[in-house]
Symmetry: C2
Subunit: 685 residues, 2 copies
């Protein structure tokens, strides 16, 4: 723990500003919680009374003589800034602002929040919240929240940071019933100062914390979060439940917090790139809260040992559904198993040790496979002759002898196995109720182990001519062409024309068949308004096309600036049309898309996304993706590298020119030895 | 209940053949269970003793004077047939064969099983098992299994049929702890006589059963199962957990039971077509076991009411992830909500009634939305001011007033909400721990309500020339062409040739560019051995191609019979290559595939499957699928109907000619007004 943050988590003196006598008030509950959990000096601050819950009150924090490290503020929003200033004077290190009524609640709240932010620019005091529940530390125990004192969390090795206070109280209540312990629990609220990124940095160095779990709905500064996460995941796993994944969910999230809703794809890419384990549901989060601190999984090849064939089948399904695989057992191992097991048993993985399996048989089989050093799911299903407690004891023995061995018991059943399950929990063995739970945690913890810090050698090596642009409007077609020329991304040959005569001259250069398009930096879907005519075979057809298009544009009062004549490019046999695009994610910066393009783009919807900067691993994944394999096939591997390098070029262009919001090259017509974009747009807004 | 089956579920007299004095033996546990649960006459049959557990024993079932409806057989496999014959003599109606050692355990077991099957062809006695646990009826209570008597299941409205005995005992133990009740529990074992299909028919008419759950790993007769399921799902929902979905899981399943592993795709299509709800995991199955009997969901538009914004976000994500949607509230409803709720609340769906929501606020909001008659997920998260029990009571009131209203409370948390949850369970309200559980059950029960019995009007109307074939070998290329000619599926024009001279003559007919292929009904991948040369532009090229191919085939000792010259067909601009295929599923018959074909088929892997006979709904789904939309776009809707009708033609061909195992038409080159298969194969083995 950075010594500075000791003052937050193990403070010398706490003031409660807004302490209340009214037992229904937040200020009263917090005081009560603090008095139960905190053994230092507590100073209620309140204008109205001299004494609350037997403690002397102060009318102002500055009147307190003793040291105050933390101030908990629970007063109306509009009074908070003045009190913060008092705290600063009193040399309070941390203020936890419980009060709501800030950024989350409309314009006047935003103004109050901005005023506080401005003050904090120069102030030394650090702020948690506003609109938060506060923090809980379990060693030493201290609780600034107004969570029900009955759901007092156990000490443990998992930290939990939540953007939702209400969800935090529910999760802590449920986790406590389930005896899941926490090192620290932090409700960040609107996080105007101490945000998730800063808390990650604090928890990274906290020796009591072996895994960090988060509930996130959005981020104010995606890049600093990623930077902290990347550093932190070198030391301990980070597990995130992200709310607002669906479009509907994102809308719900943005309506209830002040957080910016970024694109879910960008979040998932960012999580993957910083070693974060992303989980889908609250119950997944629980399993990680419980078991992530102690579990390290170095292999994605799972061994299943079961006394129930059906359960082995279901576990195997779960293994493959998660993208893991079953370990193939060597002849040595199966030989050994055949000596241990009855003839009817299955000595191959999933190892079926039969319904009449004794505790000793479990032990012998586990001993035969544990040296393989792969995650083992041990399934116990209570059958007539089964001995759950004795089996649990044998499994415990194996675990205690080899604590690093990833052993994941799954005890199916209810009353008959409840005691056995408790026994396994007591020695901190992860034990699950269903096979898929064990599989999900293996998948997550393996992805953490397999994660390596991203390397950008190709990205850094790729030379892109500096292209500092000064764009003020969208650029479509030939207006945008120069940008791609600089990047050496080939675009279709075309000529700007104003008149029919010009058009006919232009077609001499491009050759027939040619394409006529309307020219404008405003019309996004030229196709839809009849602004594109393809396959023009000769002068006569071009004349007709020009006349009809010009007439149509005029009749429909369309604001065009000119026309453009292009060579008509179609994919050669075996070639394909792809799309290449860039989108500036508000959280994470340029995100590049490469996928099936042309007429069928919206139907097939096969796109690979890459977040800038693009790592070597991103490029490998792209090569192995469907689109990578399509490119390899269509180009016979000749120019696949070149096309893949376009993703880097676009990313660099967008990093350098943050006014570019979107880039579209679609289609990019790809053949064995050629890749030509025939439609191209750059958007600045 | 069909009166016949009364004798199984409410028998007059039970014999236990293989009853044992040894308390460790199955025959002893079953007797114990029976004596606890069954109040009729029990007759132990055993050669060794005169009396077991205080009951007189018989050396043979035929020596029993009184009536015996059911015989439970737990003796070595090789003695079972003789005992069955005795039972038949004694006019026993049902024999439950607990004994293992039959089809599941190798060749000698298969022989024993076949001998019993043969006997059953003419015998009147019906058999459950072998290799099963038996059956449990809860009203009146009676248990033939050797499940631990401590996990005595509660009476309820859900039936459970399981192919895995071990999983059955675990599930019953867990369900019982969770107070989930059952009407009947049936372990089918190897199901040589009474199989899942027959039990579905029995349970269809059982008034105590309102929902049927199954654990399946495979089926011996897929079609009869489907037929029973289709009939049954008219009356009550069927929920299936299918083990062996993954390739690895299917291997595990086939190694541990005698069941045939059919393709998972075929199973999912079959389930969908017969109104079966397919679940993925044991915990999903539990939720359906508990709630399916009472819950009917008529809308896929969900309303969410929550006192925790974060939980509303997570629930919304789950709704969209499941393919459901949030209901859009009318202005009337939001107006009403705005009167009830504080200003800061969200009156749009998900309705956020804020952390300080009182029980009354829950009630008022629910009253405002229940008339919309859509599923409502009511989320409660325990916060400082929350009153869980009082809130649960208000929710109960709403439910009791409108029992048909699909109200699905989700109570987040642990100790603080445990009592409230119990209170809701007691009035049979489904209450969940996490939003996704409520969403999953809404999705499943909605799919059941929305299911309509399949209609085959287009299928039946589609005239296909009777094509009774007499195939003995695979037919590839021009040998297969006549079959597709009869179906009016257009295949590329081609000519069989033996010599170079023939080839040159043939090319005059096809025109250039042409394609030369080796002819053989054995070579599956002609490409891979150099047996296909495309894009031959003129006579000279054709000569060279012919010489080099013939030399190669000769050098490599390839068994070819002739060569084939085809017109070279490539897709016109905007056209696509698709694949059209048929596969005879061992369980469910012809399964037709239509998807992206040609070079990219294996990369894009976009295929829609249809099970024969093809229903009108299948055709609608095909039209709306990616491949349907691609076809519409590529053909400008001109010949999309024709191409879609090919699926019906193939299905009918395969139904009529069960010797056809597979058909491949790939690619089928599709343009605006033409669809030509350029490679085509019919496999008979």
């Amino acid at each position: 723990m950075a010594s500075n943050f000791d003052k937050l988590f193990n403070p010398d003196g706490i003031a409660i500003i807004g302490a209340s006598r009214d037992p229904g008030k937040v200020g009263s509950v917090i005081l009560k919680n603090l008095r139960i959990t905190y053994h230092g000096n507590i100073f209620p601050v309140n204008l109205a009374s001299d004494e609350i819950q037997g403690l002397k009150t102060y009318s102002k924090v500055t009147l307190i003589k003793e040291n105050v490290d933390v101030a908990i503020i629970s007063i109306p929003a509009e009074k908070v800034l003045q009190v913060l200033k008092d705290c600063e004077k009193k040399k309070v290190s941390f203020a936890i602002i419980i009060s709501a009524g800030f950024g989350e609640s409309g314009h006047s709240g935003v103004l109050l929040e901005n005023a506080i932010k401005k003050f904090l620019n120069t102030a030394k005091i650090r702020v948690i919240g506003p609109n938060c529940l506060g923090v809980i530390n379990t060693e030493p125990y201290y609780n600034t929240t107004f969570i029900d004192p009955n759901s007092k969390p156990f000490p443990g090795k998992t930290a939990f940071i939540s953007q939702s206070g209400a969800l935090l109280s529910a999760i802590v209540d449920d986790a406590t019933l389930d005896k899941i312990g926490f090192s620290k629990i932090i409700s960040v609220g609107n996080s105007i100062d101490m945000d998730e990124a800063k808390f990650l940095e604090v928890l990274k160095d906290d020796e009591n914390t072996k895994a960090i779990t988060l509930y996130l709905e959005g981020l104010r500064d995606g890049k600093s979060f990623l930077k902290s996460a990347l550093e932190t995941s070198k030391k301990k796993p980070i597990i995130v439940l992200k709310g607002g994944k669906s479009k509907g969910g994102a809308e719900a999230a943005s309506s209830h917090t002040g957080a910016l809703a970024g694109s879910d794809i960008a979040y998932e890419l960012a999580f993957k790139k910083s070693g974060i384990i992303s989980v889908g549901n609250i119950d997944d989060l629980f399993n990680f809260m419980r078991d992530a601190p102690g579990l390290r999984i170095k292999s994605d090849e799972v061994i299943i040992v079961t006394n129930a064939g059906g359960a082995g089948v279901i576990a195997t399904d779960a293994v493959y559904a998660a993208g893991l695989k079953l370990a193939k057992l060597s002849a040595n191992t199966t030989n050994e198993l055949s000596k241990i097991l009855p003839r009817e048993a299955n000595i191959h993985n999933p190892i079926d040790i039969l319904g009449d399996a004794t505790p000793e048989r479990y032990k012998e089989v586990l001993e035969a496979v544990y040296s393989l050093n792969k995650p083992i799911i041990v399934i116990f299903s209570p059958q007539e002759m089964s001995l759950p407690i004795e089996t649990a004891k044998e499994i415990s023995e194996i675990h205690l002898q080899n604590k690093d061995l990833p052993l994941l018991p799954v005890f199916l059943g209810g009353a008959r196995i409840a005691k056995a399950k408790r026994l396994l929990r007591e020695i901190n063995l992860p034990v699950y109720s269903y096979p898929h739970e064990a599989v999900d945690i293996i998948k997550g913890m393996y992805s953490y182990s397999a994660f390596s810090q991203p390397v950008y050698s190709t990205y850094n090596k790729t030379n892109v001519k500096k292209t500092k642009l000064n764009l003020k409007t969208n650029l479509f077609g030939l207006d945008a062409k120069t940008i791609f020329d600089k990047l050496a991304i080939k675009t279709a040959m075309g000529v700007k024309v104003k008149t029919e005569e010009d058009a006919l001259k232009a077609a001499v250069k491009t050759g027939y068949p040619c394409v006529l398009k309307v020219g404008s930096n405003e019309i996004v879907h030229k196709h839809r308004i009849g602004g594109v005519i393809v396959g023009i075979k000769n002068e006569d057809e071009l004349k007709k096309a020009f006349e009809s298009m010009k007439a149509k544009m005029t009749d429909d009062h369309i604001k065009y600036t000119h026309f453009e004549v292009y060579k008509d490019v179609t994919p050669k046999k075996g070639g394909i049309e792809i799309l290449l695009g860039g989108h500036l994610d508000p959280q994470f910066g340029p995100m590049i898309a490469i996928g099936i393009g042309g007429d069928y783009a919206n139907i097939i919807e096969e796109v690979t996304f890459l977040l800038a900067p693009i790592s070597d691993e991103d490029l490998t994944n792209l090569r192995n993706s469907k689109i990578g394999r399509l490119l390899a096939s269509a180009t016979k591997r000749k120019i696949v590298d070149e096309i893949i390098s376009y993703t880097i070029k676009l990313a660099k262009l967008m990093e350098e020119n943050p006014m570019i919001k979107d880039i579209d090259l679609n289609p990019l017509v790809v053949s064995e030895d050629d890749a030509i974009a025939t439609d191209f747009k750059v958007y600045t807004a």
